[in-house]
């Protein structure tokens, strides 16, 4: 039975959202649960797999019985090596079509037929080709480790806000990296509309279906890595509706009681990381597909995938080495802490920063970032580092000069250290090293390292 694919654009607060529904999809690309104790031995860990065709690609261990607020342990499996030619050619063809001018709905149509049943959001977004922790994504997941930013519900951002995933997980093993291909992609990436196709997996992380070499070239050439994103809409969300307060009459102003909180019967709608769609806004058939479908399910060839899970690639250790400048640039890219903070805070005025420096967490009776002072400093630093480097440096130096904020010195110094070429910072750290003042005790080592590195770089 061929897949039934429908696309629809809905209007959400003046913004159009492109949705695609897939019915009777082949289920050749997707995620599925794979038991509890298969690898970790711990029954509280739930294993999820991202697969392409019959090949397991990414193993996602969800701790605490799949707690959606917990970061996941991610590791790369044998990966998609392109043995399934049909899948490989369809994905390649889709990227070519997108770059020859096709719209997302048309260009990705062949990929939709390979997805699991459900409703997906399509959009274009810039991605940082890192794991969200300063490591270039390709080859960054060879060992299973907890990856910050992979939790479905981000504690810093909160459940009520939406965010765009922006970090990558590879689907092709690093063995597939070829310097000769890089020569071609270096030219191609300059003129492309879309550099890659990604499928959202969890939290801030998406699997790169196509565009691995392109991502390397984009980083080398400082070209934004623009991706076509496929994001499944599955999570129910509930919002408390507070009815608009009636204008208070002068006489009755004192008697006016606070407006009652009105609870919507049932959930408000379904969401993915980047969009919240109220039930009423969904096209009817798409809503029926979500309500009557599964978030994820095992494909028919699940046993084949599981059987391949334990296989070790012959060329498990590759001699292919990614260009050093790419790895270095990846270290400088925003990490998940910074991106989280940017989504959690809209803006920070100078007055608010001054309040934080004075040890207050409130400004004009409102909490600036968080009631917790340490958390406020951390989030503010990350937000400034992401949005305004100059203000970040000034704020960081002001913190480190204040001995009363000693508890935050170590964290702030380590974060600011990433700005290796900043002269103002060099001046500050040089003075720290030279002064030998006891108030700088916690940042002395970091300061020495920074000064040494700066001076070596000349």
């Amino acid at each position: 039975m061929s897949a039934d694919i429908k696309t629809d654009t809905i209007d959400l607060n003046g913004k159009s959202v492109l949705l695609v529904s897939v019915k009777n999809g082949e289920g050749l690309i997707g995620t599925c649960t794979a038991g509890h104790a298969d690898h970790s031995g711990n029954r509280s860990n739930i294993t999820r797999l991202f697969y392409i065709g019959s090949e397991p690609v990414i193993d996602i261990i969800c701790p605490s019985y799949g707690n959606k607020s917990a970061d996941k342990l991610v590791s790369f499996c044998p990966g998609f090596q392109g043995y399934d030619r049909k899948v490989y050619e369809i994905i390649t063809g889709c990227l070519n079509r997108l770059n020859s001018g096709d719209s997302l709905a048309v260009g990705l149509r062949d990929i939709f037929s390979m997805l699991q049943d459900g409703v997906y959001k399509l959009y274009i977004s810039d991605y940082y080709p890192t794991d969200g922790n300063g490591v270039f994504f390709w080859g960054g997941y060879n060992i299973s480790h907890e990856v910050r930013g992979t939790a479905e519900h981000n504690r810093t951002i909160g459940d009520d806000k939406v965010y765009k995933p922006c970090f990558l997980v590879p689907t092709m093993p690093l063995d597939g990296f070829n310097n000769k291909v890089l020569v071609h992609t270096e030219e191609q990436v300059q003129g492309r509309r879309i550099e890659g196709i990604v499928y959202h997996i969890s939290g801030f992380h998406s699997a790169l279906l196509k565009g691995h070499h392109g991502s390397v070239s984009c980083v080398e050439k400082d070209v934004p890595f623009k991706c076509a994103v496929i994001e499944k809409i599955t999570d129910p969300y509930t919002e408390t509706v507070v009815p608009a307060a009636k204008p208070a009459s002068e006489e009755g102003a004192e008697e006016e009681k606070p407006a009652p909180v009105e609870n919507h019967e049932g959930i408000t709608g379904f969401r993915s990381p980047s969009v919240k769609i109220p039930l009423e806004a969904f096209p009817k058939d798409m809503l029926r597909l979500i309500v009557g479908g599964k978030t994820e399910y095992k494909p028919e060839h699940f046993q084949t995938i599981i059987a391949k899970l334990g296989t070790v690639r012959r060329k498990a250790v590759t001699n292919n080495i990614l260009p050093l400048p790419v790895l270095e640039k990846a270290e400088q890219m925003p990490d998940s802490s910074m991106v989280e903070s940017a989504y959690a805070i809209k803006s920070l005025s100078d007055e608010e920063l001054n309040c934080l420096l004075a040890g207050d967490v409130e400004h004009n009776g409102e909490v600036i970032v968080s009631p917790n002072f340490y958390s406020s400093i951390v989030t503010a630093c990350n937000f400034l580092q992401f949005t305004d480097t100059k203000r970040f440096v000034d704020f960081a130096i002001a913190i480190m000069e204040n001995p009363e904020l000693g508890a935050t010195h170590d964290y702030v110094s380590r974060r600011v250290c990433a700005l290796e070429t900043n002269k103002k910072l060099y001046g500050f750290f040089k003075s720290v090293v030279d002064s030998g003042d006891a108030k700088y005790e916690k940042i002395l080592l970091t300061a020495k390292t920074f000064v040494d590195r700066f001076e070596k770089a000349g």
Binding site: T33, A37, P236, E265, E280, V291, G292, Y297, K298
Partner: protein
Amino acid sequence: MAFSDLKPVTAGDDKTGCTYIIGDVFAVYKMGLPTPVVYSWDMIKSASVSRREIVLTTDKDSFRISYKMFSTVEDELRAIANIECRQKEYGFSYQHEKRLFPLKSMYYECSPGKDTYTGEGLLDEAETAAAFIMLLNFRLMKFLWLVALLIALVTFGVLNFTVGITRDNILYFIPISVVSGAIAALIINIVAHAIARGRFKSLADGDLASRQPITFVVSKLGFAACESCVYQGRDLVPWEEADYFIESDKMFIIYKNNSAVAYIPKRAFDKKFIGGIADIIALNLEQK
């Protein structure tokens, strides 16, 4: 979560025109309304599964889904399995009738491994009733001889009190006392058997699974006794969930908190595997 691939189930109420969907969410399509009311499972306060209907209760509403609303028995079983799995995840209160097989909330998903024995079959009424009786005998035999002895002594005493024992009649009184003790024990046994059979009947009547093909799995990691239409091949009840087992000539009966959680008939497996199955169970549970 176990049974993670269970398909959502739709039930339609012809009288009210409502359609219910029990799956990853619980949705209610009310007649005349364009948009359904959808509840995530954390909004469900309680669920109850009785012989006639499923009742799901939220803060504001209570939804009664009669079994007649489902198109097939398989759908009913899938709906119940969905609810039991969600109950484990979200912890809402759950009332249910006594079961012949483990609740779905006891299962977890895993690869059963190499040494796994799988069988399938209907639970035979006569066999299971016999197992019930065997269990009863197991308990009753401990004191049935005592009851017979007591009755014999009482009879002997009554005869002495009413007639009076002499050298002439004592040879009659002793056999009369012994026989009356034996008859009393027999009557108790017959009544107990009738009760046991009745209990099984009542249990079987209240459990839809008693009339469905069941998949039985025994592996080193755990066991399963689950309706075949629901079972997905990777769900097991870990051995730690059970306390001990009893083996009869026809069944393995697995216990938790002194009540049977699973009846695993030997008939469901190939004869040559019974030894291996018994070994696995005995390695993991105490035999009584």
